[in-house]
Symmetry: C2
Subunit: 158 residues, 2 copies
């Protein structure tokens, strides 16, 4: 049991030091004007991004998306934009359109090039099965964006 804990602990430390999760934490801390998260560990800050399947089922998709959930969606795509920016030098913007029904779009673009396109569905339930999964999905968007930026620099720099 204690061995298991220790293994999980090491795995968590490893994923917490990944460039994407570090950027995600940085995004949240940078927007923390009131110092709400000042004394929180990085892990605690990212905890609400982990939403198990069971938990998702319990979240109603009726009505407006919770403002805290919207903040997390924003932070996730801003972190993607910042990581791509660091790797490619291209300045990018994040645009998120979210209807009351939890449907919408998340876009990251630079110049005339769309680096990230994600349709949002049931945004009320935005979250990932684990920190590893959060990192994997974020990193996949980052890699795809970098690939596009390198493939079409003339469009990205327009």
């Amino acid at each position: 049991m204690s061995e298991n804990n220790s293994v999980n602990g090491n795995e968590t430390s490893a994923v917490m030091s990944s460039p994407f999760l570090k950027m995600l934490v940085q995004q949240i801390r940078a927007n923390d004007s009131y110092g709400f998260y000042r004394n929180w560990s990085d892990e605690l800050i990212l905890k609400p991004f982990v939403v198990t399947k069971q938990k998702k089922k319990e979240i109603s998709i009726e009505g407006e998306v919770d403002p805290a959930t919207i903040s997390r969606i924003n932070a996730f795509f801003r972190a993607i934009a910042s990581r791509i920016e660091i790797e490619t030098g291209m300045i990018s913007n994040v645009v998120i359109q979210l209807g009351h029904e939890g449907f919408g779009w998340a876009l990251v673009f630079s110049g005339r090039l769309l680096l990230t396109i994600k349709t949002l569905r049931d945004a009320h339930r935005f979250g990932f099965g684990s920190l590893e999964k959060l990192n994997e999905e974020g990193e996949a968007f980052v890699q795809k964006g970098i690939e596009l930026a390198q493939r079409f620099p003339d469009v990205g720099n327009l």
Copy 2:
């Protein structure tokens, strides 16, 4: 006086038959599920798009943007998207992000290519000085989008 009226009447007819304004009317009629506009002339339907400088000053930019104004912003960019689609054959999407403060983005894209980028400011006051101006601005976005689509077809068809 009657001569003046007649001249204005002819000018209005001319601009009303422009491809952009015709598409804009078509967009609005297509979304008119309740038949609200069924007996309205095209000109009457487009009238709220004309907002004089004086009128703009009278519209408060406090609080939420009026739903009817949001509908007009949507219709304007959907008309741009449809016109580009007809001219280039590229299927496109419209994404509009609008904050409570009337600031935001309007984007039209096809594949990974942004055909239209417009930052929105004081969206409460969305409107054009005249029907001619409405047509000119819409048509300018259409032409720019077509030019980009033709220049970067590989990005638009991704």
